[in-house]
Amino acid sequence: MILGIDVGGTHTDAVLLERFKVVRKKKVITDPENLLHSLLEVTEKVLGDISPGNLKRVVLSTTMSTNAIVQGRISPVGMILASGPGLPPSLLRINEHSHIVSGYVNHRGEEVAAIDAGEIAHIVRTLRDEGIDHVGIVGKFSTRDPKIELDIERLVRSRFTHVSLGHQMSGNLNFPRRIATTYLNAAIWETYHTFIRSITQFVAQFDAHIPVYILKADGGTIEIGQSTACPVQTILSGPAASIMGILSLVDCVEDAVALDIGGTTTDIAIFAGGVPLLEPLGITIQGHKTLVRGLRTRSIGIGGDSRVACVNGRLSVGPMREGPAASLGGPCPTPTDAMVVLGLASIGNRERAVRAIEDIASALSRPLEETAHLIMEHASREIITHVRAMIEDINNKPVYTVHELLEGAKIEPKAMYVVGGPSGAMAPRLGELFEVPVHIPGDAEVANAIGAALARTTTELTVLADTEKGRLTIVEEGIQQRVERSFTRDDAVTLCREKLRARVLAMGAWEDDIEIEITEDQSFTMVRNSCIAGRNIRIKGQVKPGLIHGARR
């Protein structure tokens, strides 16, 4: 049996799965002051008389990290940035405790300038005086060679509770994002640790041997002990749970659109051949652009409780939510009220809904029912406009080879999946407008918990080989080794697969779930003085987001 728990903002849901099918589900109100209490409560309820010894794994999806950031429950972080030349320091300082220091490597990972130990010592003193316990160290091009970051770490490690290193956040380039990611990681580290410690105690009450996983932003899971090194991976796992939930409830092997229509917003996600798409560089949280691998979603301000208004004869829906639907005593008309008027939903008091929609009807000088239809139509068209824009963005993604530019595959959705409160009322029209079959999966009210329960462990890995310098780097694993001049692209791919497998197993993956995909495959002949000097090989692989073996319908 698998236990999946989703700690959402309002509810905490739990599902118990046997042979990948839901056998029990329970819902409790989330206690934001004590998430652990909610976890305990829902677990006891869903398990009932079932012995915890029957559980093969427990997977959690929690807004803990996200909330810590959004609500500012974070530690102050001292940031030590080895920026080298390029962007001005004023654009790199992420907080008042940021210090730009000397020392940097260039784009090929060659050390151009060393660090200045005296300078670092001075910064350590300053940060200690300011009462800072958490530090982030980030170097430009540290993913090419982390030497500078490691050199600084050696000088500061013993003086602070926690040190986050930029190159351990992601193997991808982008210095400002690396700074933001490292900062957030160090900032939530304390809160996350406390939470994980209590989870571990909580599980120990049942059975210390049940593996516990936590969902990441990319829709993949990681064993909870492993997750503490890089807690930033777990931010924004809420939308990921929802997308993985939809994936687990439908039989999707083609390009498709998934919509989660909530009270305030509608979240759009795209599947390419049944695989949810990732953000190209990383997710954005609270204005911080990060390198955190995350599922690509677009959130638009249209939901069941969006404010409906009529200004100068023009109808508008959203983006604001003033409260619940008028039928439930809310302050203004909403799409939910329109549904109630049309008999598509029975929520709250119909009289109130009618009164609210009548205001709009008289402003538009239209009959009541027609107005309710217009509101639904307006909301549906708006959503579809955003879906199309998102697909266009994906299909217009710049590419860097002649082959991809001329032959590149395009996303062409063949199906649409809709979940959320208003899905029953809105899905048919959305499908019509988008001209694809539309599906409303069953069990959708606990989709997040199911998605978490069935998500497989994911990760990525980057192999860089420079045969001119005779050097190979796998920055995610902290590997730096010599390579022969004869090292080839094929050797790099083989190594990438091997190391990726080891990495994902260490993260808690099950052998059957390791489906490896090479996502970047480049090999350049390096020419110096008109002679071939070596090869610059860049291979990236991933275990892509998906369901654990056997869960696919």
């Binding site: 030349p85 390029g86 784009h107 710049p398 860097y400 082959h403």
Partner: protein, 435 residues
């Protein structure tokens, strides 16, 4: 530093295209530039927007070039993309989606002349020229200034706009006595109907920031102020850099950024630049920041040492003298033109053109109608040692009725006979015919 601008970036490094495996124009050329641009996170700035290049069409090429035997035979798909990238940059600027744009694309184009028998100086088709005529066809006739800051004389662009008084072509380059293609002297000053609208500024080897910026401030900017272009285009070659392996200049990333900041081009298009590791990553970051109005003061090469690349006092004196002579020439362009044409009806020039990349020799005779009302109709008789001989009639943009009538007559009355093909290119009506 100017205010923040919305900058379009068309980045197309063509990672799967090379002239040959060890050629400077190979897959690796923009690899480290990509790394630097990505690592600096430039695409994350709200005012820097990346666009995918469109594909130029054969029609876009035929509007500018006379390709022998035809456009399909002298290009690869990669050329359609790099020209398409320049066109995308122009589209985004002219539709005001962005304030300015940089086409960071390859392969380059400024050595491609009007007639194309093959590749010269790594160039098959002239991507800026194709962009310029695209702009005029789709957005109306415009006065356009092209400032070519590639280290090599842009002899192709010069040739294409030689007779066009509405296109001011200014090339700053290493003196042709010391570098390919060996042309680009101040007396190359434009055709009889566009005299003064080609300006060449050959600088001595080892010219550094000081010299380039002096020429910009004291010569180029004043001439641009006189010309009053609707659009300024920068052919942003990056081979003036002190580390470039095939040239001998001492320009820097900081210098390129400053030049771009002061010139404030509407559109920049990458040309040459072959110091792919030590120069291009830093120059391109500098140019992008300067175009977007973001502080570029911290951009420099790892081995930057201004003292070691400073130009000599003699170079400084020489450049001051040269700038002042060229400025005088510009101011007296109308009188000089009158002397040049006297009472001639037609003028003729005879040239030999060498295609170094493809090893082709061409003999060309060009005849232009002297005209004060337009750029003048002209014909080209071109014979290459590929065995092909062609004749082309070109009716210019904003042509006067007389030149138009003459052009149509020339085309009608020219028998194919000794020519493999006879071409008619009418820029006004956007017509291209081959018979």
């Amino acid at each position: 530093m100017t205010a923040k601008k919305k900058t379009g970036l068309i980045f197309f490094p063509a990672f799967d295209w090379a002239i040959s495996p060890t050629h400077p124009e190979r897959e690796e050329r923009l690899l480290y530039t990509q790394d630097q641009v990505m690592e600096e996170g430039l695409f994350d700035f709200d005012n820097v927007i990346e666009f995918k290049p469109g594909l130029a069409t054969i029609r876009d090429i035929d509007r500018v070039h006379i390709c022998v035997p035809d456009a399909q035979h002298v290009i690869t798909e990669s050329h359609l993309i790099s020209a398409g990238g320049a066109i995308t940059a122009a589209d985004k600027v002219l539709t005001k989606e962005v304030d300015n744009a940089f086409a960071l694309v390859r392969p380059p184009g400024h050595h491609a002349m009007k007639v194309v028998h093959g590749a010269r100086g790594f160039c098959n088709i002239n991507i800026e020229a194709i962009m310029v005529e695209y702009i005029r066809t789709h957005f109306g006739h415009k006065r356009i200034a092209i400032v070519d800051t590639d280290c090599h004389h842009g002899d192709g662009t010069q040739d294409i706009f030689w007779h066009d008084p509405d296109t001011l072509y200014i090339s700053v380059h290493q003196d042709g006595r010391t570098l390919y293609p060996g042309s680009g002297f101040p007396d190359e000053f434009g055709g009889p109907n566009a005299y003064g609208y080609t300006i060449n500024i050959p600088l001595p080897p080892h010219t550094s920031e000081e010299g380039f910026l002096y020429v910009l401030d004291s010569l180029i900017l004043p001439i641009l102020a006189d010309f009053k272009p609707d659009l300024i285009i920068n052919s942003a070659g990056q081979d003036n850099h002190y580390t470039d392996p095939i040239t001998n200049m001492n320009f820097t990333a900081q210098g390129y950024a400053t030049l771009n900041d002061r010139l404030a081009p509407d559109i920049a298009v990458l040309e040459g630049g072959y110091s792919i590791e030590s120069a291009l990553p830093y120059i391109n970051v500098g140019i992008i920041l300067a175009m977007a109005g973001i502080d570029y003061g911290n951009v420099r090469e790892p081995d930057y040492d201004p003292a070691s690349i400073r130009q000599s006092a003699e170079t400084t004196r020489y450049i001051r003298q040269l700038s002042s002579e060229i400025h005088d020439l510009w101011k007296s362009r109308d009188e000089e033109r009158a002397k040049l044409i006297e009472n001639a009806g037609y003028l003729r020039r005879q040239r030999s053109i060498y295609y170094d990349t493809d090893g082709i020799n061409e003999e060309q005779a060009e005849t232009i109608r002297v005209c004060s009302d337009c750029g003048g109709v002209f014909t080209i008789d071109s014979k290459a040692d590929t065995g092909r001989r062609i004749f082309a009639v070109i009716v210019p943009g904003r042509s006067c009725p007389k030149c138009r009538t003459k052009g149509e007559q020339f085309f009608e009355t020219t028998e194919s006979g000794k020519y493999d093909y006879v071409y008619f290119q009418d820029r006004d009506k956007d017509i291209f015919i081959r018979k």
